[in-house]
């Protein structure tokens, strides 16, 4: 089962056992076969990908050291790609063709990756189900009537369906671990500042981070090594040295202290998810990890804090969509006046979907005169308390474990009428974003109905290595990662 991992494919290309072109053709064929069911892609870049693969095959000597040589990769459609349409799944950017590449795209291509397309996501990454895409939702490869999660739903679905062994997502409030868990793949949200966001279409700047979806933990380490590190183009990227993440994968978790916030995970979790979580903890303990009870007393407030901070920042970030420099422009309705402000308002009315409007409205409200202290400032103060909870826990443990999601994938449309119910599903993922901590989801089982379940590990700032080490050791002792949905093998 190693042939469709990044490590396996790149190794085969480097030794000349396989060509990048043949691997790319297979990925595109699988994409074509599954796309009518999954709708995982907004844009397929077949010609661009084949040209790129051919270029790698023409000069094999140049790629002898390339960690991702010839590896097909799917990019979330909020990462700018020069000359390749980038929409953020929004009508307002339907025709946008970026004049530059995101830093992660440059780094991935320099490492040998071949971009096969841009994946479907919630509009401007706002959502947990991919249903807020202007192009309609992507679907879960394990159950086509269910969500692949969000906001990076298409990326997780493409990874699970065997189209691309590496997919790139972005994460503002759990948009990598959550879809990874419910699509049965590995997802890693790095520490805030670990990966450059230059060229990522901004949602909430104090929370956004970019990270990989892969089939194995080792592959996540390989991709993170390729994309991490300081970038002068992103003032929030940190200068911290990038360790060789793959070296952390010793298979040994003896002595690792894993914190379990029993108070947080004790209630409101689906029975099968809770059981899989307990079994995963037992497996880690069997391998020599020490389980330690920890308390995160302010974690239950993470969702209200998140929806105030994220919407406030979004209302500011999305002010740039004004119908002037790029994207769509809609003339004002008759009677609204022919002038510039009327054009802004009608363009944004036509260009944004309901969830984006709702969040811009909420964010504008909480920042407006008279409400700032009660909502936004208060949320930032509780954010400090959430951070302190984690600081205190990490004095005693090396990582904190919890289920990635309280339930397996829900049905498309299940929460459509009630945005708040949808938000509550993010209870275990948003606190890592608020605290800027790395978080990793690794498959840890299936429901009786065959839906994947994820184990989430949250680590200290800039300690992705511990998460990767623990998750890799867990993965070696289980076979969950080898399970594939039927759609991946046909």
């Amino acid at each position: 089962m190693t042939e469709d991992t990044i490590a396996g494919l790149a190794g085969a290309v480097r030794t000349g056992a396989r060509t990048a072109t043949e691997i790319c053709q297979r990925a595109l064929a699988q994409l074509d076969a599954t796309e009518p069911s999954l709708h995982a892609f907004n844009t397929v870049a077949a010609d661009r990908a084949l040209a790129r693969a051919a270029a790698i095959d023409r000069h094999p000597a140049r790629w002898k050291q390339a960690p991702l040589a010839g590896v097909p990769i799917a990019l979330k459609d909020n990462l700018c790609t020069r000359g390749l349409r980038t929409t953020a799944s929004s009508r307002i950017l339907d025709t946008f063709v970026p004049p530059y590449d995101a830093t992660v795209v440059e780094r991935l291509e320099a490492a040998g990756a071949v971009v096969v397309g841009k994946t479907n996501c919630d509009e401007f990454a706002m959502g947990s189900s991919n249903e807020n895409s202007a192009y309609g939702p992507a679907r879960n490869p394990w159950a086509l009537d269910r969500t692949p999660g969000g906001s990076s739903g298409g990326s997780a679905a493409a990874g699970a369906a065997g189209i691309a062994p590496a997919a790139r997502g972005s994460d503002t409030g759990g948009s990598i671990p959550q879809p990874a868990a419910i699509c049965g793949v590995v997802g890693l949200k790095p520490t805030y500042g670990r990966v450059s966001r230059y060229g990522l279409i901004a949602f909430a700047s104090s929370l956004d981070q970019i990270g990989p979806f892969t089939r194995t933990v080792r592959d996540a380490a390989l991709v993170l090594s390729a994309i991490a590190g300081h970038d002068p183009m992103d003032a929030t990227s940190e200068a911290e040295p990038v360790p060789p993440y793959a070296d952390a994968l010793t298979g040994d978790v003896r002595g690792a202290r894993i914190g379990v916030p029993r108070g947080l995970v004790g209630a409101g979790v689906d029975r099968e998810v809770a059981q899989a979580f307990d079994e995963a903890l037992a497996s880690l303990a069997d391998r020599g990890a020490r389980l330690v009870d920890v308390e995160l007393p302010h974690a239950p407030y993470a969702i209200p804090v998140y929806y105030l901070v994220a919407t406030a920042e979004a209302s500011s970030n999305l002010a740039r969509y004004d119908g002037v420099r790029y994207g769509m422009r809609t003339p004002p309705a008759a009677g609204a006046g022919p002038d510039l402000p009327a054009m802004y308002a009608s363009t944004r009315a036509q260009g944004f979907g309901p969830e984006v409007k709702r969040r811009i409205m909420l964010g504008t409200y909480v920042l407006s005169a008279g409400y700032y202290d009660a909502y936004y400032l208060k949320a930032q103060q509780v954010r400090t308390l959430i951070l302190r909870d984690y600081d205190r826990a990490f004095e005693r443990v090396d990582a904190v474990a919890m289920p990635t999601t309280p339930t397996p994938a829900f049905r498309l449309g299940e929460h459509a009428a009630d945005p708040l119910q949808m938000y509550l599903g993010d209870v275990f993922t948003v606190s890592a974003n608020l605290a800027g901590l790395p978080a990793l989801s690794v498959p840890c089982g299936f429901t009786a109905g065959g839906l994947p379940i994820g184990l989430q590990l949250i680590g200290r700032r800039h300690d992705e290595s511990t998460l990767l080490r623990v998750a890799d050791a867990y993965e070696r002792g289980t076979a969950w990662w080898t399970h594939r949905p039927p759609i991946a093998t046909r």
């Binding site: 025709t95 940190e238 929806y307 002037v324 420099r325 944004r348 103060q381 708040l420």
Partner: protein
Amino acid sequence: MPAQLTSDDVVRIAALANVTLDPREIALFTRQIGELLAYVEQLQQVDTAGVPPTASVRRGAAGASADRPDEVRPSLEIADTLANAPDADRSQMEGGFFRVPRVIG
């Protein structure tokens, strides 16, 4: 805390946010944003006296300045930039302009 959100509030916020809403959206958002504000009300239970706000979790700022020398560097080509414009005048000898509707009456 503020009183119940009204449709007038929603119309006022929409103007601040530069979004035109139709009557159906005004009614929907009045209800939904009102529910979200009621939900976040639980934060008032948390004692935050003396707690500083967190605007950014970035901690490397002290050690690594984000400043750079103020030097002229290459930027995007004007033609590439205007290629995405919904309306532009590309004929000008200086390279062209974005075109916008009337700004002042």
